[in-house]
């Protein structure tokens, strides 16, 4: 039987849930297994209920699952909240003494986490490593992989701390190994070498930006994209990337416009409310034809909403953003791989078309770890479009930054690259960049800017289309829901219901020519979105005239899972 085991680590904020979950996932991935994790936490630093879910399979996995095989409960509440999620033979690991709980209950495995930690490493804090060890002991996994991962995870600490953690994990491992319930699932390392990256969406996106040559990032901390700012502030020191935390999002967007105008590749990252503050600046990039990349990590709005939770509520906000009209592209990465490659692509598009590119992610993608093939840097080609070389720039006479051209893209010189003056304006301007009130010039400049859409359109990647013969149904989605929709589709197929999946990672400009015929040939089309109003269904209607048969929406701040989709379909809602 194929392997599909689901773990959940739950407890209060500050108990080390993320460490346990991450180390567990990483250890499985290092052993060549496939792993998808997701996180659920509250907007607080201590207390509350948080969890980290780790799903392990022996084939590719891109979605989470609610039903649990092993629950690691760091507090009583976790048991209460998740007992109904347990599979029939599921196991709850807990420290009965520490939690003052009767560990004699069937399905409970009592592991004295704190006691073992103190015995093995003279430190209660190491109980997290005891917990990971215990989990792996129960499933009989190769301990040495865990030992290596712990040493790697604590590499910045002293060797003593590393080895104390390994000893603590060993104690948990050995303790649990003697208490394996009869017939409990075993997990063995895979035959493959495990040389895959274990990475979340935020990290993959940051690496994509760095590989693409981002040299300046200004961002104001905001969940879920704060880790991008932190990551690049840290790594930027080694790779010459200027990273700034300015006074607000308005400063951030105007800073990246200033840096991009001067000549470097730039990016900012925020969430919906921060993006709202940036909107005027995005229009500025539009009219001054300045290439910028803006990451909008959606969370559940409006306003502050559910700040640590996921949603897809800003699709139309991103696509329609700005005052006035100007071209832009919107990427909606579905996976960590997409987050890397599409971010790199976004930098090329921004420079080739001298206009803003928005990368629309969400909390679910940002925080979910997944194992992926090592990103291929050879695929990252830097294309700076009409940016002039120094040799070309020195030959300029009578330079016009906003010269009207066939493609709408003007040759781009940089200040001080030569004697040519680079003039641009947030006001409507003539070809030189000086402000104008002329109706004719205004009309020419608007047409020039919007012309860039035809080039942009030709560059947009096509949606993923998984077609089955005699499909009764086409499941449609965009962004982080891909894994869940794809898995739901496969489950449906197993039940005998042939279906297609049509999924978008690049939504704007909308690929009308590809999509319209697919939709016309679909018997029934269902759009699945993490929002309440079906924004993508509206977009499809607006762009193709096709009215979809129905929508499945989830807007409780939690991500869409395969079983949620199946349940909704079964309810006959659609």
């Amino acid at each position: 039987m194929p392997l599909d085991v689901n773990f959940l680590v739950g407890g209060e904020a500050g108990q080390g849930i993320q460490t346990i979950g991450f180390v567990l996932g990483k250890t499985m991935a290092r052993g060549g297994l496939h792993v998808f994790t997701d996180q659920d936490y509250e907007s607080r630093i201590r207390g509350g209920h948080n969890f980290f879910r780790v799903r392990v399979k022996d084939e590719e996995v891109k979605a989470h699952n609610e039903k649990l095989d092993i629950l690691i409960a760091l507090n009583k509440e976790t048991v209460e909240l998740h007992k109904n999620d347990m599979k029939e033979n599921g196991i709850v690991i807990l420290d009965g003494q520490a939690l003052k709980m009767d560990a004699g209950t069937p399905g409970f495995v009592d592991v004295p986490l704190e006691k073992l930690a103190v015995e093995a490493a003279e430190n209660k804090i190491m109980s997290n490593s005891v917990a990971v060890g215990a989990v792996l002991g129960l499933v009989g996994y190769d301990f040495e992989i865990l030992a290596d991962v712990l040493r790697w995870h604590f590499a910045k600490n002293t060797e003593k701390i590393q080895e104390d953690n390994v000893r603590a994990a060993r104690a948990g491992y050995d303790y649990a190994a003697e208490r394996i319930p009869k017939g409990f699932t075993k997990i063995s390392r895979a035959a493959s070498d495990g040389k895959r990256m274990f990475i979340n969406g935020n990290e993959a996106l940051s690496l994509g930006a760095m590989a693409a040559g981002c040299k300046f990032l200004a961002a104001y901390p905001m969940t879920p994209t704060t880790p991008i700012l932190e990551f690049m502030a840290d790594k930027g020191r080694d790779y010459n990337i200027a990273v700034l935390q300015p006074e607000d999002e308005i400063a951030a967007i105007n800073m990246i416009v200033g840096a991009a105008y001067t000549g470097v590749r730039t990016m900012t990252a925020t969430s919906g409310s921060g993006f709202a503050l940036m909107v005027e600046g995005i229009g500025l990039a539009g009219i001054t034809e300045t290439p910028i990349v803006v990451v909008l990590g959606e969370r559940a709005g409006p306003a502050v909403g559910l700040p640590t939770r996921t949603e897809q509520g800003e699709l139309l906000f991103a696509i329609r953003t700005g005052t006035g009209e100007f071209p832009r592209a919107v990427m909606t990465p579905a996976t960590a791989e997409d987050a890397f490659y599409l971010t790199a692509k976004a930098f090329n598009l921004a420079e080739k078309y001298q206009t803003p590119v928005i990368i629309l992610t969400d909390t679910h993608l940002a925080n979910s770890y997944n194992d992926v093939s090592k990103f291929d840097l050879k695929q990252i080609k830097i294309d700076r479009g009409a940016l002039l070389t120094n040799a070309e720039a020195v030959k300029l006479t009578d330079y016009k930054r906003h010269q009207v051209t066939e493609s709408g893209v003007s040759p781009r010189a940089l200040p001080m690259q030569s004697r040519a003056l680079v003039v641009t304006d947030s006001d409507e301007h003539d070809e030189y960049g000086h402000m104008t009130e002329s109706a004719e010039i205004r009309t020419r400049q608007v047409i020039k800017r919007l012309k860039k859409y035809s080039g942009l359109k030709s560059e947009m990647g096509q949606p993923r289309f998984h077609e089955m013969p005699d499909a009764e149904l086409t499941l449609i989605g965009w962004g982080s829901t891909y894994g869940a929709i794809k898995e739901a589709s496969e489950m449906l197929k197993k039940e005998g219901a042939a279906n297609n999946v049509l999924h978008f990672s690049e939504v704007w400009p909308f690929p009308v020519e590809t999509v319209a015929p697919i939709l016309q040939n679909s018997r029934k089309s269902i759009v699945i979105e993490n929002n309440a109003t079906g924004q993508f269904a509206h977009l499809i209607r607006g762009e193709t005239g096709h009215k979809v048969s129905g929508t499945i929406n989830k807007f409780d701040g939690r991500p869409i899972s395969p079983s949620f989709i199946l349940n909704e379909l079964r309810k006959g809602v659609v």
Partner: protein, 293 residues
């Protein structure tokens, strides 16, 4: 590149712009334009070596009337863009320019933080104590009681940009007057030559909408700190006391100067070759990717 000393002398003619000027006849801005051209020429800064970043308002149009690189920004947002431009290319002389409404109102938060950050740029504020482009509303520096269409019972408490700058420990704080070309040229030159953030607040009579703070008003009330015996612009407390003077006598000149570390030199990435000149090479991230395996 040609070194400054080998170049023929520059004159104000070298900064002539082909753009038609839209300011009202008699506007104080003309004096600022004249003085800035003169300052640039005297500093031997050629048009292509200078980047002006301006906001919106009558002052925001300023760089269009001058030959230079120009990013005419949004209302209130010149400073963040100017700061970033300097960080990625420190070889550029970066001058932000705007009015009192643009810089002290709409862009107030950026003003505070630009002073704290101390990036090596110059900020010229055309301070006419009124909104010109939107036709005569009260501005952040309008005197208390200043009656306009939006403040029929008189403007409320004005901002004191000098005091604010001293509180933020801005490293160069000066005030000048558009009709005193000699003084203004001196202040602008000192500001550009100062290493760190330099503020020059420039009184500039609005002949159309401000009937209080007129040429006459300034001629009567202004005096030069240079003429004040024993004034020490490195004494922050003394500078703060001067900044509170408003009434019969209003000081212009260098209020305060401090040696402070410059932000960009503390930014590891911006220390070596200017970021704009660095080669982009995806392959150098190979080892970083390996950290995720």
């Amino acid at each position: 590149m040609v070194r400054a000393s080998e170049q023929p002398a520059l004159t104000v003619q070298d900064y002539l712009s082909p753009v038609e000027n839209q300011w009202c006849p008699g506007c104080g801005n003309f004096g600022i334009l004249r003085a800035v051209k003169k300052a640039l020429a005297e500093l031997k800064l050629e048009p292509h070596q200078v980047l002006f970043v301006s906001g919106i308002g009558q002052a925001g149009k300023f760089p269009h009337y001058l030959k230079c690189n120009l990013l005419n920004e949004l209302h209130g947002r010149a400073l963040p863009a100017a700061v970033a431009a300097k960080i990625v290319n420190p070889e550029l002389t970066v001058i932000a320019v705007g009015g009192d409404g643009d810089g002290y109102g709409e862009g107030g938060n950026h003003f505070l933080n630009a002073m704290l950050r101390n990036v090596n740029i110059t900020y010229l504020v055309h301070d006419n104590q009124v909104y010109g482009l939107t036709k005569g509303q009260a501005s952040p520096t309008s005197d208390r009681g200043f009656v306009t269409k939006t403040t029929p019972t008189g403007a409320w408490e004005p901002i004191n940009p000098m005091a604010l700058a001293i509180a933020c420990n801005a490293s160069f704080i000066a005030r000048s007057y558009s009709a005193n070309t000699e003084h203004l040229v001196k202040m602008v030159k000192m500001a550009i030559q100062h290493k760190g953030f330099s503020l020059v607040d420039i009184f500039q009579p609005c002949v159309t909408y401000n009937k209080v703070n007129t040429y006459q008003f300034y001629q009567t009330h202004l005096y030069k700190l240079d003429d004040e015996e024993g004034y020490d612009p490195t004494d922050r407390i003394a500078a703060f006391n001067k900044s509170l003077e408003w009434g019969e006598k209003i000081p212009i000149g260098l209020f305060y100067r401090a040696e402070r570390p410059v932000f960009e030199e503390n930014l590891q990435a911006a220390r070596g070759e200017p970021l704009v000149k660095q080669k982009l090479d995806p392959m150098k991230f190979e080892t970083l990717l390996d950290e995720y395996i």
